[in-house]
Amino acid sequence: MINSQHKILLRLLLLICTIFIVSAFIVDGFFPTFNGFIKIQLSPARLLSDFIAIQGIGSAFFNAAIVALIGIGVILISGVKFSGVTFAAVLTILGFGLFGKTPVNILPIFFGVFLAAKIAKREFKEYLVIALFGTALGPLVSFIAFELGGTQLPMLPALFLGAGAGVISGFILPGVAMSMLHLHQGYNLYNIGLTCGFIGLFAASFFKTGAYTFTSLPFWYNEAHPLLVYILPSISILLMLIGIFLDKNKILKNWIAIQKQPGRLPSDFFDLASLGSGLFNAGLIGIIGCLMVFFTGSNFNGPVLGGILTIIGFGAFGTHPRNSLPVMAGVIICAILFHLPLNSPGVILAILFCTTLGPLAGQFGIMMGLLAGFIHMVMVSQTGSWHGAINLYNNGFAGGLTAALLVAIIQWFKNNTTINPNAMLKKSVNMFFSKKDK
């Protein structure tokens, strides 16, 4: 069972990487793609560095596929079978390979986590998930090596410092990641986003104390290329069809079983329901993500594709329509109230990545989901500057802070009162609207 799941997921992920590589060469040709790929390695890679805007579709797709293949290689070497969490990790790495992760900036982080495992006398596979998601700090390596290097620092020392910073941050990731889990008790799916944001705060403060001013990088691709528009809806439909093929007439029953899960970390839908229904759910979440992009009038570019790929991945590990839609609605309501354009980069990325807070809606109800989405939108518009945009999972950071706040309040209510916070929220909203009507 586990072996056949492993084989199916491995082949599926390799197929998706192959689609990206073949598309890259068809769109831009071999040599321009490869040249652009080399130049991407020298990019500072901080948010928002849309590699499609920087070097073109071919190079960005090729970089994403190579980064994802490295992730797959690390999983295979560590001897872990493919499952919901590794499926989510590879698709997240693939997605962020379009706007921040490069082979050059992720390798020092893997090495740092490997060293931590050695020192703790644990097998690397026990820290594998932390290593894979921890590559969110890749821009810390690239920033020191290629943004400070050659301007503030001589090139060679900058390269060593960048790699060293990557190894150190990888080394401290396991300890910090496990502590961060306790802050939100598993209600923020992108826990490493919170972890990397926390580490990023300290790292960025060193540079700010040294009088370095972080300026935001404005690389955001604004054209509508058919490949960018159609690739993820096609992959999503493919996942849904594979799911239906695997589960046959049990697909609906198993998919409904997924909707009943709160989605709190760690919820592997392949284990809790079935491989087929997990893939179907992942594809459906991908379609919902694409529709959100379409209806808000946003562009399908590197960061947006990265966001959709991430939620597709987490469609096997915590995200499903029942727990995600209330949070997405909360973000949209907040954006409308604050007059933020729905197709602006910050808002569309928040609509996609806010699903990190799905478990709050899944466990405590729709009203809690709406509130979480609302607060998330407010927070995520501020947090990027706190860590100098070196943590790629900025939404995971903001989501973690939001979840920590709400979980602390819910815990207090639970321990000290008989009030159900979700029911109380519902009552308050009803009272507000009934007063307005009068």
């Binding site: 596979k125 998930v129 284990d271 466990q363």
Partner: protein, 127 residues
């Protein structure tokens, strides 16, 4: 994780699971050996056969070192929401779940490869 911490976390998660149903009686017994330990948890709540099967399935789930090494840190610690027996299942060696005295008895065994299971009378699987 130190052995003492591990035991505390396992007891925490199991107690959370049992106490969710507000039993009148809960007994936890620990027996330690050099290379492993046995934890028995008894309650007096009524459990259906499906419930017992689900508990046994969760506790004997496939070993997942990549999840146990990271998310296992939440075992018996983060108790807001439902109790999660699969978190335990990834970390223990074997579990038995039986109905007894109007309630349930859960036996958990932990240990390394050198763990002398016979000291704890792990029932042999029927051929």
């Amino acid at each position: 994780m130190e052995k003492k911490d591990l035991i505390l976390h396992l007891i925490g998660e199991m107690s959370n699971f049992i106490l969710n149903k507000n039993p009148k009686r809960m007994v936890i017994s620990l027996h330690q050996e050099e290379d492993g330990f046995h934890l028995a948890i008894i309650d007096n709540n009524k459990h259906t056969d499906e419930e017992v099967a689900a508990i046994e399935r969760a506790l004997n789930s496939e070993k997942r070192p990549e999840l146990a090494g990271y998310y296992g840190a939440m075992t018996g610690h983060d108790l807001l929401g439902n109790a999660r027996l699969d978190l335990l299942g990834w970390q223990i060696k074997h579990a038995d779940v039986k109905k007894s005295d109007g309630g349930i008895k859960i036996d958990l065994w932990l240990g390394s490869d050198q763990f002398e299971a016979h000291k704890f009378n792990i029932p042999k699987k029927e051929e």
